[in-house]
Amino acid sequence: MTVKDLRVVAALGARSVKQTFRRPQLFAPIIVFPSILLAIQTAGAGRAIDLEGFPPVDSFLDFMLAGAMIQSTMLAGNSGGIALAVDIEMGFTDRLLAAPISRFAMVLGRLAGTAALSALAAVWFIAVGLIFGAHIQEGVPGALLMIFFVVLSGVAFGGVGAAVALRTGRASVVQGLFPLVFVILFLSSAFFPDNLMLEPAATVAEYNPLSFIVEAIRDPVISSISWDVFWKAIGSLALVGGLSIWWSALALRRRLRTGG
């Protein structure tokens, strides 16, 4: 990747961020919906922390913060996929493909945008959490680690959205992933501890890579940074990100070969 390619990726990433802020239907799932869900769940299920086996936390908000962040970043990835599919539908990607740039810069630019939006979302939720009484046990380094994992998650889940967009070229199909996002979220420890779930959800959540990522985001808030949790999250992100980006590359290659 050349310096010029990096400039292109940065420019496309910046476009992606601006596009999200200018199109409410892309912005809302990243900030508005997870914020509302966070508020509802924190207010309505706050006494869940009294359940036996619930991780030791000061408040349900401490526990939920990571769930809201990962929900936001998954929806950011999905929104990025929708935006890429819209680009394909309206022919904007042809403009990029007719330019002397790396073919994959188009995808990387979109992922860079999703990563930036994920960082913004992470900062938003940390700020909201702190305002409403959450306490990050590991302080500033812990907050930075949370942002780090959220950004990587944005790239990994953005790759899934990009792959589906490139494979189908249809925004409606990518939009159809929204329910799947929630299925994956609820079958992880994002919103509830897996050890308190019923079978088979408990087993699915225990091995769901998303649970490992969520735990790594939650860890600095509710306890301390654990290397075991850290590396499990890195492994999960490498798996999801590697597969999604590989799938994106395949889908792009197919699109270039077949012309659609």
């Binding site: 010029k4 400039r7 601006k18 309206m90 042809d94 740039i101 270039l256």
Partner: protein, 342 residues
């Protein structure tokens, strides 16, 4: 049917005669084919040669294969057979060099409605390797060139169809391409916007840019192109200068309408000047090999015979006549829009 090398330059209007024709054509295609899944043969063996500095128009209806051909020449689609070089570079073996040499404005103006005009041109400048300062200067110059300075910081979604096409054209010029591809640049535009685009294309060509455009408008091909290729069902069925294509169809014909009958007598008289054609709507028709210069003698002869001419019309063969002759059907372009802002 194949192409025919460097076309004669039109010497009227803005176009200047070329004194030296370069050896390397701007565009060259041999047996270019594209078959899609399901066996759809969109382009079925196109041979093409466009000289440097020429305006070449691909004329054909929707689905004729124009856009598929352009997509192959601009490296957006791989040919399934044949070969093509643009600006001397092979579209398959060296697509990067092709992309550096070409500007592309695709059908339906593929613009992001959420970007501003200025943002779009600056992004295009980045795609072509221009730095921030150079990109900004280029954006300013191009926006002024296409008369979009006032709208530069508005989102493209608020632009009219004509403004979008002008912006699309401007963005294709960021890197001063040697060959400019315009895929139906005026389809759907109102006549005023269409003329504005034509003027810009003529000016660009006057500055030395080779222009390859596709169109479904006969008038556009006739007015702009040095040479026209008529494409139908994925094949070029005719190719030449508009004048020569029309000349292949036949000579101009004179339609004479008389004030008070005498049709048979009139037909006898006009027969002396050229090949008579079947009368139509009460008018006598005769082919005039000499064109306008033979109108006066015909009128004089009719007058001397005591026949009073009510109306006469010298009708030149049109590209539509050529199209019908070559394809067996008329070209029916899409309706232009009203110019309303969307």
């Amino acid at each position: 049917m194949g192409g025919c090398g460097a076309g004669a330059r039109r010497v009227t209007g803005r176009f200047q005669p070329r004194s030296i024709l370069p050896a390397v054509p701007a565009i060259e295609a041999k047996g270019l084919e594209r078959t899609f899944e399901g066996g759809i043969h969109a382009v079925a063996g196109v041979d093409l040669e466009v000289a440097d500095g020429e305006i070449y128009a691909f004329l054909g209806p929707n689905g004729a294969g124009k856009t598929t051909c352009v997509r192959m020449l601009t490296t957006l689609l791989r040919p399934t057979a044949g070969s093509a070089q643009v600006a001397g570079f092979d579209v398959v073996a060296d697509p990067g060099s092709v992309r550096r040499a070409i500007g592309v404005a695709l059908q339906e103006a593929a613009l992001d409605p959420l970007m501003t005009g200025r943002e779009l041109i600056r992004l295009q400048a980045t795609l072509h390797g221009l730095g921030r300062q150079a990109g900004q200067e280029k954006a300013d110059a191009l926006l002024e060139r296409v008369d979009l300075v006032e709208a530069a910081d508005r989102q493209v979604g608020t632009y009219s169809g004509g403004m979008r096409r002008r912006l699309d054209l401007a963005s294709a010029l960021v890197h001063e391409p040697r060959v400019l591809f315009l895929d139906e640049p005026t389809t759907g535009l109102d006549p005023v916007s269409r003329r504005t685009i034509w003027e810009e294309v003529e000016q660009l060509n006057g500055e030395g840019t080779t222009v390859f455009l596709t169109t479904q408008y006969l008038e556009e091909a006739d007015k702009l192109a040095n040479r026209v290729g008529i494409i139908d069902f994925g094949r070029i069925v005719a190719e030449d200068t508009p004048g020569r294509l029309k000349a292949q169809i036949g000579h101009p014909h004179l339609e004479v309408k008389l004030l008070d009958g005498g049709l048979e007598r009139a037909e006898e008289i006009v027969r002396r000047f050229g090949n008579p054609l079947p009368s139509k709507d009460g008018a006598v028709l005769v082919e005039l090999p000499g064109g306008a210069s033979e109108v006066a003698p015909v009128v004089r002869a009719l007058d001397e015979a005591g026949l009073t001419v009510e109306a006469l019309d010298l009708v030149e063969p049109s590209l539509d006549d050529v199209f019908v002759e070559k394809t067996g059907h008329h070209l029916e372009p899409d309706e232009p829009d009203t110019g309303e802002i969307e």
